[in-house]
């Protein structure tokens, strides 16, 4: 029993071919949309590559770009097959490629589903990568005279201003690091000597943050230094002060941003999967109905279209047998060589 058999008149076949042609061009547009989505995501990830430690998350935009290109190619081919499908002289040359085409189209759909799953699954890895990258960025903030790290300060400052965040987890991360370069510290001053002696590593730690942590929406001019000292500023209470600095940590801000990007592309990718599936199914119907029509005496008459010639189970078993035959093709089969002479002898003796 064929799977999902449908009757097709000549007119219906023509309509199917036309509709599929339009659908395949729409699928080409969707493929280019997926490709540009991948490019955009990759560019956004590369822009902040300095605060990311590893590039595992790049697998998502890479797959998107690959799938986009493959989808453009396969759907363009589907359009060409459509154009030739109603011409009996030109259609047979496509027959050879169609099985491979189905495999590629199914693979594209699977990869798109995998992309959606990966974008959620890799969130933890992205967070780890950002944690390490931001920690290094904050540690090297002061090294504006070290080649290779001299732009770290500008990068972190711009990041904090653009994403409205401060520090790794929150602003206290700046209290644990020396972010003022030694070149600008007066080692003869008592205050500095005290601070340096107050910790084992001899670092100049202070309860202050860089200016890029300042929140422009605060009603008072930004307080950057002596943040934990209520007496250092008039009418200031450290525990209640909310608007002075950005409250969010940069790790959280960046994760929200990238997850937002990937989630907003989710519906688009899902609709691309739907369109690709419908192109696949329509092309199968078109192929089987046109082939059925050409084998009949009346090529213009009715024919049947189906998804699978036999049921699902039978098709799978046939496929298994074919694959086993292919695997055995190389091996020498001694039992078959002995068995055939015996088989030849046996029937004559029985009769």
């Amino acid at each position: 029993m064929a799977l999902l058999k449908m009757k097709f008149t000549q007119q219906r076949r023509v309509r199917l071919a036309q509709g599929l042609w339009l659908l395949s061009w729409m699928a080409v547009l969707c493929g280019s949309f997926v490709f540009s989505l991948g490019v955009y995501l990759k560019i956004e990830l590369l822009r902040r590559a300095e605060v990311m430690e590893n590039t595992e998350i790049h697998v998502v935009p890479n797959i998107l770009m690959l799938v986009g290109l493959a989808s453009i190619g396969t759907n363009w081919m589907a359009g060409r097959v459509c154009q030739d499908s109603l011409d009996p002289s030109r259609f047979p040359r496509w027959k050879v490629f169609l099985l491979g085409w189905y495999a590629v189209a199914a693979l594209i759909c699977c990869l798109l589903v995998a992309v959606v799953v990966l974008s959620y699954a890799l969130q933890g890895r992205l967070e780890e990568s950002l944690k390490v990258g931001l920690r290094n960025g904050i540690r090297f903030y002061k090294d504006t005279d070290v080649p290779g790290r001299c732009f770290q300060k500008e990068t972190i400052d711009r990041l904090q201003m653009e994403f409205r965040c401060c520090g790794n987890t929150n602003f206290r991360d700046w209290f644990e690091v020396q972010w003022v370069s030694n070149r600008y510290l007066d080692y003869t001053s008592k205050d500095i000597k005290d601070r340096i002696r107050s910790n084992i590593d001899g670092r100049y730690l202070l309860d202050g943050v860089p200016f890029s942590c300042c929140n422009p929406a605060s009603p008072r001019p930004c307080l950057q230094y002596h943040l934990t000292d209520n007496n250092a500023h008039y009418n200031y209470e450290f525990q209640n002060e909310e608007l002075n600095l950005y409250n969010r940590g940069c790790r959280e801000a960046l994760i929200d941003y990238y997850m937002g990007l990937m989630n907003s592309t989710g519906p688009g990718v899902l609709s691309v999967i739907l369109i690709q599936m419908s192109v696949l199914l329509s092309l199968r119907y078109l192929q089987t109905s046109v082939e059925g029509a050409t084998t009949q005496e009346q090529p213009e008459g009715d024919s049947e279209g189906f998804l699978l010639e036999k049921g699902v189970k039978e098709t799978l078993e046939e496929a298994k047998v074919k694959i086993l035959l292919l695997l055995k093709f190389g091996q020498v089969d001694p039992s078959a060589a002995d068995g055939s002479p015996d088989a030849e002898k046996a029937p004559p003796s029985s009769s």
């Binding site: 504006t144 007066d186 009603p219 001019p221």
Partner: protein, 345 residues
């Protein structure tokens, strides 16, 4: 003698109509472009309306929006006329109004040129508006508790960060005003009392700038307070310090931003004007070639097309006499009536 006469056979007429139709649709898209540019300009002005004196004029973006819409309408109509011109039966219904439509197109083109000129000229009032508005903005920086001005601080801070500028002319403008609110000043402290006593208006002036003036590209953490005091900071010389705060003033930064925008828009409007002139001339050729068929019944006959039926001088004198006739049309023509009666009898 007609101006720029060209001979047309059927094939040439068809080609002319097709290319003018194509140009008309191109011009519709140009109209959409002008409309969207006007919209973009309006939004940009609105975004910084707090920093402009209240009488900032939205005349130019409104004009651009109207011209864009008009361009779309006129060009779509022209395209339809062109499309129908290949079919004599359909073209007949458009023929009577074609002359007036072409006159309308010419007037529209003149308006487009005027719009483009305005784009270049309006920079000057904008400069004064910006100067005034920025000065006031800085004065109201501290008034974060006054209704109507409480967002001025945030607007100014975000603007200084985005445009990489500080103050009106340069960062010293901040030294001349009080930008710290009185709510955060401890009036019992000696330092505060000294500063307030040091000037006539009793304002708390300091040689410091807000954080938004800081340049992230500076190798050292930002020095915002006591900027003119070299001994207050280690290894600091305020005469040679280049990268600490932004050097350019916000008036120049904003003016070059808006000026650049207006120049680009003016140049694009000029290009659109050229396109419109081309389509108007094309439509005139289509119209004249279809009305001078050698054999009106035979669509394949030859014809001539021109820009003006007579030379420029003659057309001009024709228009002048027509206008004079229209001007006299209202007056009672007593001499004419008597003359008519006299001839009858």
């Amino acid at each position: 003698m007609a101006l720029m006469k060209v001979k047309f056979d059927l094939k040439k007429r068809v080609k002319l109509a097709q290319s003018v139709w194509f140009l008309f649709w191109f011009a519709v898209m140009a109209g959409v472009l002008v409309f969207s540019m006007g919209l973009f300009f309006k939004i940009e002005l609105r975004k910084r309306s707090e920093l402009m004196d209240n009488n900032e004029s939205h005349f130019l973006p409104n004009l651009l929006i109207v011209m864009g819409l008009l361009a779309c309408g006129i060009n779509a109509f022209g395209g339809k006329v062109c499309y129908d011109s290949l079919d004599p039966s359909k073209f007949v219904k458009w023929k009577p109004m074609l002359k007036t439509f072409l006159m309308g197109c010419v007037v529209f083109n003149v308006l487009l040129v005027v719009t483009a000129l305005l784009c270049f000229i309006m920079r000057i009032p904008l400069q004064f508006t910006l100067a005034e508005g920025l000065r006031n903005g800085m004065r109201y920086y501290k008034d974060t508790d006054t209704p109507g001005r409480c967002y001025m601080k945030r607007t100014l801070d975000l603007m200084q960060i985005e445009f990489r500028c500080c103050g009106n002319d340069n960062y010293r403008d901040w030294f001349e005003i009080q930008w710290v609110s009185n709510r955060y000043l401890d009036f019992s402290a000696k330092e505060v009392k000294d500063r307030i006593g040091s000037n006539v208006d009793g304002q708390y002036l300091m040689d410091g700038v807000p954080f938004s003036c800081c340049n992230p590209g500076s190798p050292r953490p930002c020095i915002q307070q006591q900027m003119t005091n070299n001994s207050a900071h280690y290894s600091y010389d305020h005469y040679t310090e280049d990268l600490n705060v932004w050097k350019s003033g916000c008036r120049d930064a904003l003016l070059s931003y808006y000026g650049g925008m207006m120049t680009t828009i003016g140049a694009l409007v000029l290009l659109v004007t050229l396109l419109e002139i081309a389509v108007t001339a094309g439509l005139q050729y289509v119209d004249s070639s279809l009305s001078t068929l050698a054999n009106p019944e035979d669509p394949e006959s030859e014809s001539e097309g021109w820009l003006l039926e007579k030379t420029v001088k003659e057309t001009f004198t024709d228009i002048m006499t027509k206008m004079k006739a229209m001007g006299k049309g209202g007056k009672v023509e007593e001499g004419g009536d008597e003359g008519g009666v006299a001839t009858v009898s």
